[in-house]
Symmetry: C2
Subunit: 273 residues, 2 copies
């Protein structure tokens, strides 16, 4: 059997009891570590799980699926992922590959940012499409996510913005070489995302109508589910100047606030701090 | 400290290790049982948690918050909820009440249908606004959710439909009486939701443009996260005739399918069964 088990968000003990039992009894346990950030380091996880973990980087999960799935129709093999197993498309890929190989599969769900973001008090069913905000480069400054934010805002809906993560990205120079060299890991902060958004708005170079201004209410959410989780709410201009500390960060562009949402969110307003 | 702990979806062991530790050491543990359906009965949960659980019905959670929060600034008090704590507005309410009483609060997240629905292979960031489909009565047949489904569909997005749950609803006759009498519990099935949708479409009585037809692809998801989870995909007309078994059911009205989504979803097509 091949298991994909979500380990949750911020604490070694956020794995479910059922997940832990499977981990402890499996033949091989892989730890996927490039679509998110590990709540604790690998050693701490190994100590708590009482298991050795095999690190699975992007290359192994995307191109080495058959290595991971080797003998999984005889033994139990586990792939651990941060959050919920269906947060990244590569996990659907490896499940399909297992199916092709006639290997039985099982998924153990857990919390992910897609539902845990509810902790800021905004109701999950008032969210529209989720967007990803990528790091800009000197020559590549995409702004298409603003259109989706505006689409949501015009319907009164909130937008969850997932901020770019770059882990184990090969350097441009090494991309065609046999021995890859990697760029240092980078995690986009809320203030960077806000500053990119401000630049797009100020440039006036976007499609369709725009409802996002310097005064638009935003929620910055750092390390959700971690012991030092931090949530702050303020205008887009304010949030561009706020340091929320270490990664991971996410952000919500607020749509129309319902009274209970407003009452809950108030505790996070910068002006009330 | 007042804790709200998500117990996950379908198995007593779906609580997180941290959640279980808190439950076992708390002074009082309430079990909220009206916004979802318990994966196992209360006795099984009590046996596994090694704790007595106090049942918290709608009246207690909505009107008896102070009873639940009594002495929570000295002792640890837990409210267990199915799925994730932020699935229902009443949980935000009780957290705010605790804040007013200067009681510290903590939330232990878990999987909920809002992220676990990813197990059908549709990517969570291709979903638009979630809708709720209510039971119709003889004189009340709302259809406003179709507008939201169409809004999503016109943007190529999928729609998660949460189907009505009626647990411990007082009968009309007893609503003003001191001693309430309750209607039997009801849980909407996918085929009922589809048949209501078909009636709306056939009636031609709806606002704006309509993109939903008898041929629209739908995914029926029953008992997600349970050992006997069942997923089937077919046209709206087909799904109106499919029996997915016991509750809880949810449904997705599919927007534009991406190739990987289609490849994954295919395994659930009625015609392939």
């Amino acid at each position: 059997m091949f298991y994909i088990i979500g380990v949750g968000l911020g604490n070694v003990k956020d794995i479910t009891v059922r997940g832990l039992e499977i981990v402890r009894s499996a033949k091989r346990v892989y730890l996927e570590s490039y679509t998110s950030i590990l709540p604790e380091n690998k050693l701490q996880l190994e100590e708590f799980y009482e298991r050795q973990l095999i690190e699975a980087d992007r290359e192994l999960v995307e191109q080495g699926a058959d290595e991971i799935l080797d003998k999984a129709n005889e033994d139990n093999v586990v792939l651990l992922v941060v959050g919920d197993p269906f947060g990244a498309t590569t996990h659907a890929d490896i499940l399909l590959r297992a199916r092709d190989l006639n290997i039985e599969t099982k998924v153990i769900h857990n919390a992910s940012i897609m539902n845990a973001i509810g902790c800021c008090g905004l109701q999950l069913y008032h969210f529209g499409e989720t967007v990803s905000i990528p790091f800009w480069t000197d020559i590549w400054k995409p702004s298409s996510f603003l259109k989706k934010i505006n689409q949501n805002k015009s319907n009164g809906l909130h937008t969850l913005c997932l901020l770019d993560i770059q882990v184990k990205e090969p350097t441009w120079e090494s991309i065609t070489k046999k021995k890859k060299e990697y760029q240092p890991s980078r995690f986009m902060e809320v203030r960077q995302a806000c500053s990119q958004l401000l630049q797009i708005i100020d440039s006036n170079e976007f499609d369709g109508e725009n409802y996002v201004t310097r005064e638009t209410l935003c929620v910055g959410a750092a390390r959700i589910g971690w012991p030092d989780q931090k949530i702050l709410a303020g205008t887009l201009a304010e949030m561009a100047n706020v340091d929320l500390g270490s990664p991971l960060h996410s952000m919500v562009i607020v749509g129309t606030l319902h009274p209970l949402e407003e009452q809950f969110l108030k505790q996070f307003y910068i002006e009330n701090k």
